[in-house]
Amino acid sequence: MDLLNLARGPLLATSVLIFVLGMAWRMVGLIRRPTRQVRSAPRRIHVQGAVWAAVLRHMLPRTGTRPSPTLATLNPYFYHFGLVFIVFGYAPHIAFLQRHLGVSWPALPDAVMYLAAGVTIISLLVALAMRLMDPTLRRISSADDYISWGLLFLVIFTGMALIDRPSSAYAAQAFSADPTRLAIHLMSLELLLVWFPFGKLFHTVSWFFGRAQFGAFMARRGVQA
């Protein structure tokens, strides 16, 4: 079995299995924790609206903090949106997802994708620089932060190293690229998938629950979270 087939076959299957089982294991472990019965009379009984408001509101920077450097506030948006564009907007990625999941949608133009990839790479580098240079961020950082950053960056970097023609050219030849470089890109993705459930990338799931429970907690006290 050559490297590409190994990456496309057993390694992909194994990494996806670890990803799915790991995420489910961690989620179920949280859900199974005991809950605290709340007996005090709530100020508000119907809190669903407030919960959704909190989920959305915590997506935006809160006015009322001390002025923070604009870059520190904006940078996370750059790489989060950039990653969404790259994963769900680039034609070869959509083709990959269609092959495995059977769903597809129109791709974004290559120029947009290159811009998104450029912005994402720069903003990830900025995020790393901030983490290393800011004493407070450095104090609270752990190996998890650097491993998660490194694996994410590796996937993007190996993906960029793979591109040598427009996506339409890949489409014309059934999305076949340089097999070795494609295998390396896939294996870096597989590494990321294996790491995903064990580190901070779990926040792709927990963000919703954290905001929702805080929104509900504050809403029953009559406070907009």
Binding site: L30, P34, R39, S40, T65, S68, T136, K200, R221, A225
Partner: protein
């Protein structure tokens, strides 16, 4: 008007408070074991989700008055939950089998260090959670940490001194029933009716050591407001203390005792409503935690005095002259505002006095803490941290351009007064209930409280 002599005595008592703390003799291993047992016991789903969610973005540092004023990176709010995180990851998390070898166990030295992080430099104000992209309830985590530290004997001596007094005698700073009676007599001597120990009443009014000893005018004003509204109320000498140093020091047993003492009185007199005086933490202690202590829904409403006044004004049951034309900034005590949802009613009451309210940029749920909440104002070694935090508060008040600052929390008021004294700040610090009482229509004593 504050009793100046008593204020000086109170300051002196605080300075020597630590000397009265009971000695804690415990081997380090037992301290760690006890602290970890509390952390594990309190690790419910909400806390676990919070501990799993932090992405270490550092946003909470920008929201915390201690963190923004200090170069020490340890003061960032999320770091204060690190011991909980370690216990979670090593012993309870779904993947603890994997994380345990890479996660350091909690030691007694860690607990010693976290005492300062969770007591001296955190007032559980909750501002950090409002800016957290993950919605982590850091204040709740710190509260669990306080319980863990307290059970290991690591609560600050000042808080332990007051907590042990309240636990043993039910009093705070020695303000027992005889002091209450003296204060009531003093208020009565000014022509104000005070209903003490009525067997039955629809409203149970609580008070606090601060009002009994220092801010007697606040107690008097509360009585005048309740009388003016025609409420059937009483104070009870067997259960009057609203302050709860069990909650502040993290000792659940004392918290329960203190809450049960007033809950029992309320049930005994058949109260439909319990009024919490101007004391920030006393409100959540009864309003949000009382039912948990009692083991079921409370058979009465719990209202902060500022909340009640707003309701009475809104319902037309309390008539104010509306002639106090001044500009005021209302300081939302964290435990009443951000943790309690009491925002509108105090403002409504102040506007009814004729005042114009000046809101600073960061107001209501984003208001800055005074720096001395959650018992912080009693911790002597934390005075420099409090002074740094107060600088933010002072700048915020100054930016509002108001003539005076009003609050409805005795410890905020004390902290403001101490900060003003230290920084030669001449901004008047007023009590909401006193302002309202001075503005009552047909008040027989319009100037007595001034």
């Amino acid at each position: 008007m504050m009793n100046r002599e008593m204020y000086a005595q109170f300051g002196n008592a605080i300075a020597h408070l630590a000397e009265q703390a009971p000695k804690v003799e415990m081997p380090d291993a037992e301290r760690v074991q006890r602290a970890k047992a509390v952390m594990m016991e309190k690790m419910d789903r909400n806390l676990a989700v919070d501990l799993e969610s932090c992405v270490r973005c550092g946003y909470c540092a920008d929201a915390c008055q201690f963190s923004v004023q200090n170069d020490d990176p340890d003061l960032i709010p999320t770091h204060k939950l690190d011991l909980l995180r370690r216990v979670w990851r090593r012993d309870l998390a779904p993947m603890s089998w994997l994380w345990k070898p890479f996660t350091q166990d909690v030691t007694a030295d860690d607990l010693r260090k976290w005492q300062a992080l969770c007591f001296d430099s955190c007032t559980e104000c909750g501002r950090c959670s409002m800016v957290c992209p993950m919605g982590i309830n850091i204040a709740r985590g710190v509260n669990v940490m306080r319980e863990a530290l307290a059970t290991a004997g690591f609560a600050p001596d000042e808080l332990r001194a007051v907590q042990s007094e309240q636990d043993a005698r039910g009093t705070v700073f020695g303000a027992d029933a005889s002091h209450l009676v003296q204060t009531v007599e003093a208020v009565r001597s000014r022509g104000v009716t005070v209903h003490l120990d009525k067997p039955k009443a629809k409203v149970l009014m609580l008070t606090t050591v601060l009002d009994i000893l220092l801010f007697q005018d606040a107690l008097e004003a509360t009585a005048r407001v309740l009388n003016a509204a025609g409420l059937d109320w009483t104070l009870r000498s067997n259960g009057y203390e609203a302050a709860n140093f069990g909650l502040l020091s993290g000792v659940e047993e004392t918290q329960k005792k203190a809450s049960e003492a007033v809950i029992r009185q309320a049930i005994e007199v058949g109260a439909e409503m319990v009024i919490v005086p101007e004391c920030g933490h006393a409100y959540p202690a009864l309003r949000w935690e009382g039912a948990e202590v009692h083991g079921g829904a409370l058979p009465f409403r719990v209202l902060a005095i500022s909340e009640l006044i707003g309701e009475l004004v809104e319902q037309g049951k309390l008539r104010l002259r509306g002639d106090a034309h001044q500009t005021l900034m209302f300081h939302d005590a964290c435990k009443l505002g951000r943790h309690g949802g009491v925002f509108e009613q105090p403002r409504l009451a102040l506007r009814a006095t004729g005042a114009q309210l000046r809101e600073p940029r960061d107001t209501e749920e984003m208001n800055w803490c005074c720096g001395g909440g959650a018992g912080g104002f009693l911790i002597n070694r934390a005075a420099p941290l409090r002074a740094q935090a107060f600088a933010i508060k002072r700048a915020q008040v100054d930016s509002s351009d108001a003539q005076a600052i009003v609050t409805s929390c005795g410890s905020c008021r004390l902290n403001f007064l101490a900060g003003a004294e230290q920084t030669a700040w001449d901004k008047p610090v007023l009590s909401l209930v006193e302002l309202v009482a001075q503005n009552l229509v047909d008040d027989p004593l319009p100037s007595a409280a001034c």
